[in-house]
């Protein structure tokens, strides 16, 4: 098992190095750092001096190494557009995105598993069939249309919930949270639903099909034959076996949630990293793009790794076999 973990960590690092290379090439060759630092009025001497001081005359590998070393220390350069350190801007906006992603994930996982189990247990019921048909449409809806629809219903027509922003935010020093105020909690509802809906349907459909598969197994029949309660059978015996494959997909969806936050944040003008990234693309703010790429890669790769390790925690068969080999 240890060998497996080491191999996975090694693979993850390799992916990160490749992504780092893409980010570096972006940083180094697409945006011209000289342009951004010196502006239009400059002399050849100036350029040479800056090139030297930025290390742009160093060999490629050395530059790449320096770029990565800086990135690891949290130095992603200066934003062209805001003229501030990228790391500072991202740190300022990360809480908004992470909070939104966390609430969406909770919504997607909680409701997804609940509805999946429900539609599996009552698979002949009318409610279950309605939910399944609705989910089919939900999967083909573009995220931003869901957001707009929610805004139209709950903000424009009903005027229950705010349609943009984060509401009132509490500053905890190292973190800003909107969850401590009523307006902040209201503000997160629509974006969280928008962001989580797609993942929710995905998890629901997966849980349902896995659950139906598990309910056909012999050990479920045997549990029935022993007179166990339906509740114990469905939740203790069936759900636990369902969750093994669900964990992988759910884990990967968490990464997707952070990526799709770009769209939701734009619809709801949510002041997070995704909105920052979209603005960076619009205004070709290369350092911000490169930093975002690196951060989100770390997150994706990290999540993938954790999902793999979680397998061992859930399935005793893997645990034992892993230990033996």
């Amino acid at each position: 098992m240890l060998a497996y973990i080491i191999r996975r960590v090694f693979q993850s690092l390799l992916v990160l190095l490749v992504v780092g290379l893409v980010a570096f090439s972006l940083f180094r060759y697409v945006g011209d750092p000289i342009d951004s630092l010196l502006g239009q009025e400059r002399t050849i001497a100036d350029i040479d001096r800056v090139r030297e001081s930025l290390g742009l005359n160093d060999p490629f590998v050395v530059q790449y190494y320096n770029f990565l070393a800086n990135a690891v220390q949290g130095d992603f350069g200066i934003s062209y557009r805001q003229s501030r350190p990228v790391a500072e801007i991202i740190a300022e906006r990360a809480p908004a995105t992470l909070e939104l992603a966390a609430v969406s994930a909770l919504f997607a996982i909680g409701l997804g598993i609940a509805l999946g189990v429900f539609t599996a247990i009552r698979r002949r019921g009318i409610a279950a069939n309605v939910i399944m048909s609705a989910s089919l449409i939900g999967v083909s809806l573009p995220t931003f249309l869901i957001g707009i629809l929610l805004i139209y219903v709950f903000s424009v027509e009903l005027d229950w919930l705010p349609s943009f922003g984060r509401g009132q935010v509490t500053d905890l020093g190292w973190w800003t949270t909107g969850l401590l105020t009523a307006s902040g909690r209201e503000a997160i509802i629509l974006p969280a639903i928008t962001l989580g809906l797609y993942q929710m349907t995905l998890i629901m459909r997966l849980v349902r099909s896995e659950m139906l598969e598990v309910l056909r197994q012999d050990y479920i029949r045997f549990a029935r034959a022993r007179g166990l309660r339906e509740r114990a059978i469905n939740f203790r015996h069936a759900l636990k076996n369902t969750l093994v494959p669900v964990i992988t997909v759910t884990g990967l969806q968490l990464g997707a949630i952070i990526a799709f936050a770009i769209i939701t944040e734009t619809v709801f003008q949510w002041p997070g990293v995704g909105l920052l990234f979209i603005n960076a693309i619009q205004f070709v703010d290369i350092p911000v793009m490169a930093a975002y790429l690196m951060l989100i890669s770390v997150m994706f790769v990290g999540i993938n790794l954790i999902v793999d390790l979680l397998y061992f925690a859930v399935d005793p068969r893997l645990r034992i076999e892993g230990r033996n080999t």
Partner: protein, 328 residues
């Protein structure tokens, strides 16, 4: 005469299909007394397992009990509510499944699976439940039960797992056990151990056991009485010795001829020609008539009465005791 533990009367199971109503179990009656093992034998599709599932109330939809009565310890159970039926499962009726590799939940320890079953049916403390679980494992011959109670199913061999399955089925002390092909998935060497274990538990506890199998050898070794099923109907019922030595139904006779017997040396096995008809296309009259060497006109017109099949009687118009010598 004391009340039998299990009493089945005219049990019929139906499956509505697009092609019409199928009867995988058709008008079956039999009893099992305490401490007795009844072997139910027949080809696959003969309705053996379906009968067991009907008794324990685990028929898969759309199969359903269409008519007949099932009594356990004198109480009628085929009309019970879902909740009452669930309570009697495990506590009154235990069931042992065929494949020990798939009958145990891979993600729960065997201790978990035992104690949850015990706590469900018996009013005992957690500690008491665990003690009973250990005892149940010891009873089925699992060595070092106290240490192995926290092990997961995959840590046991196939034979040991089947012992665990038996412990699970018996841990709430049911008076009736339905064993559905309990040895089919096991190695031959392990098979004998498991049947011996079943027999011992049956005698010690005075349980009634319904042993479903297609293996005549297992029946001969284990059962007290045997019920032979063919195409959903009871062909013959009687004490094992009688049925084996002097089968009355031609089908039973065919089964016997087709069973290898090591003691008789290398005589060539005779097989029954043809295959069991599908339920949707049963021939008129006796279901066995296309394969029977003694078929006469009556066999192809009227089905022999199955209602009267009790010990020593077969559902056959011309039982073998009335036949002359078996043609070669």
């Amino acid at each position: 005469m004391t009340t039998p533990v299990l009493s089945v009367r005219n049990l019929t199971v139906e499956i509505p299909t697009r092609a019409g109503l199928l009867k995988p179990v058709d008008g079956i009656s039999y009893d099992i007394a305490a401490g007795e093992i009844l072997g139910v034998v027949g080809e696959s599709g003969a309705g053996k397992s379906m009968t067991g599932n009907a008794v324990i109330g685990l028929l898969d939809r759309p199969a359903r009990i269409a008519s007949g009565e099932i009594h356990v310890n004198g109480r009628r159970i085929d009309r019970l509510s879902r909740k009452e039926l669930r309570r009697s499962r495990g506590k009154e009726i235990g069931m042992i499944f065929q494949d020990p590799l798939t009958s145990l939940n891979p993600l729960l320890t065997i201790g978990d699976q035992l104690t949850e079953t015990i706590s469900e049916h018996l009013d005992v403390s957690d500690g008491e439940a665990k003690a009973r679980a250990i005892h149940a494992l010891e009873e089925v011959g699992i060595p070092a039960a106290r240490d192995r109670i926290d092990a997961y199913p995959h840590q046991f061999s196939g034979g040991m797992r089947q012992r665990v399955v038996i412990a699970l089925a018996l841990c709430a002390e049911p008076s009736l056990v339905i064993a559905d092909e309990p040895t089919t998935a096991l190695d031959v060497s392990v098979q004998a151990q498991i049947t011996a274990l079943l027999k011992r538990l049956c005698r010690e506890r005075g349980m009634a056991v319904m042993l479903v199998t297609h293996d005549m050898g297992v029946i001969a070794e284990t059962a007290d009485r045997v019920a032979v099923m063919y195409a959903g109907r009871l062909a013959e019922l009687g004490p094992v010795r009688d049925v084996i030595t002097a089968p009355m139904h031609p089908y039973t006779d065919g089964l016997m001829q087709a069973t290898p017997d090591a003691s008789e040396g290398a005589t060539r096995l005779r097989q029954i020609p043809g295959a069991m008809p599908r339920l949707g296309s049963l021939p008129p009259g006796c279901a066995f008539n296309p394969r029977c060497p003694y078929t006469q006109d009556r066999c192809c017109q009227d089905p022999p009465p199955t209602r009267d099949v009790t010990d020593g009687r077969a559902a056959c118009w011309f039982p073998l005791t009335e036949h002359a010598a078996i043609p070669a």
